[in-house]
Amino acid sequence: MADDGQSVIVQRVEPSSNPVQDEDLDQYGDELAGLTIVDVDVHVDDTLMFMLDYMEGHFRKRMETVLQADFKGEPGNSLRNMIAHIAWLGSSYDKPPRAKLATKEDLLARMQKGIIDYSILFPSELLPIGYLPEPEWAAALAAAYNQYMVDAYRNLDGVKIAIVVAPQHPERAAQEIESHAAHPDVVSVCIPDVGVNPPIGDEKYWPIFAAAARHDLPISFHGIEALIHDNYPLRVAHFHTLMQVNSMGFPFTSMLQIMSVVCAGIPVRFPNLKFAILEAGLTWMPFIMYRLDAAYLRYRTELPALEKKPSDYIRDWYIGTHELEALPRRGDLVKLIELYQGQDTTMWASDWPHLERDLIAGFMRYEMEDTLRRKILGENALRFFGLKPRK
């Protein structure tokens, strides 16, 4: 490139709408008053720059390099955008790839409405961590994220944290669990499940499950559509639109990881360990449960550790409602939940403030008994994360 002394002006694009506003909650203020509401999938601004201070030595140097990079109008501090959206950059026009991220103040303002009792914070930037080819670097990022979150979001009323682990480094992942398990605000271990290869049931990951079981910390799998790699579980680079990747990436990954965990006999080896799946919607649950049962009839002897059929294990998994599918009739959600036996395991999740977040009206439009609504809005999540009711 000719050096004419001119530098390219890179402008950061701001989203046209501001997803951190959530007036939707106000609309249901009266109806929800007195109910326990737990939002089990909430994201705050965790861009990589916040982790710099928690990195040392060559990793700190490396992070400085990352933070200085500019990439096609996106600041180089977004691992997520770099991995997720390059291939389809700009394809949603008025919805730029970067959602406006919620600051701590945004989060507290939302909590102060007094409607949501608990927000469970999950990572954004580190959701594609499973793709990183270097286990040490992935583990360093996870450690920095966890320490940052625990420092920045501790002791806030109703705010709880899921620490993240890098599955490609099971020993360091187990250490992360050991060092944060006793923290009163840490309520789950998040395993970002996309790009994890081999699948998460593999014996190499068992130290992670053993550590979580030892500390009675539930495991939450959280998906991401970030799949430009020609890799497990889907060769998504072959799809022409991000919409296709988004639709299939989450549920396919979830199904594959559930299948992997159950068929590896992990629920038998760690019977008290609880699992949840987040951000994959709900409609595929009956499919994977009963499809596995059908095959289990013929192949049970491959899985001699199982004491029950696969659906008997999967029905114990908790599941977040986001991204809630719009079913045609108002009674359909109850029917779906009956099919996967999820009355005691389904948990309301908004994914606030990401662009694809669910407004609470999306859930409230479905007809159901009050007892079931209460379970989904909060009671099931209290049990999963081991939280005490606040109202």
Binding site: R269, L297, R300, T301, P304, A305, E307, K308, K309
Partner: protein
């Protein structure tokens, strides 16, 4: 062999002179269990130190439908939270009798 008591089919097995009787229809899709063969199966649990082992030789009733396996003594299905009803068998004066 299969015997019918009222409307209930019961599968009866003679294993070297020991008799076993179980509910005669597989709960999966109702295949007649009396036509199933007896063999062993693989187990893997804390008792085997999570090693896969061949066990229960001759005591595992394999459904002729799709292969569900039942412990012929207890009626318990291997790998399922499910148990077939079993019946006591008495042998008196060379007569095999089901205790109902």
């Amino acid at each position: 062999m299969e015997v019918k008591v009222g409307s209930v089919q019961i599968a009866v097995f003679n294993v070297d002179g020991d008799f076993f009787a179980l509910f005669g229809r597989c709960p999966h899709q109702s295949a007649p269990l009396s036509r199933g063969r007896l063999q062993g199966t693989v187990i893997c649990n804390a008792d085997t130190c999570w090693e896969t082992q061949w066990a229960h030789e001759g005591e595992v009733l394999v459904c002729p439908g799709h292969g569900m396996e039942y412990n012929i003594r207890s009626g318990k299905a291997f790998g399922y939270d499910l148990k077939l009803r079993t019946y006591e068998v008495a042998v008196e004066d060379g007569q095999v009798m089901l205790v109902m």
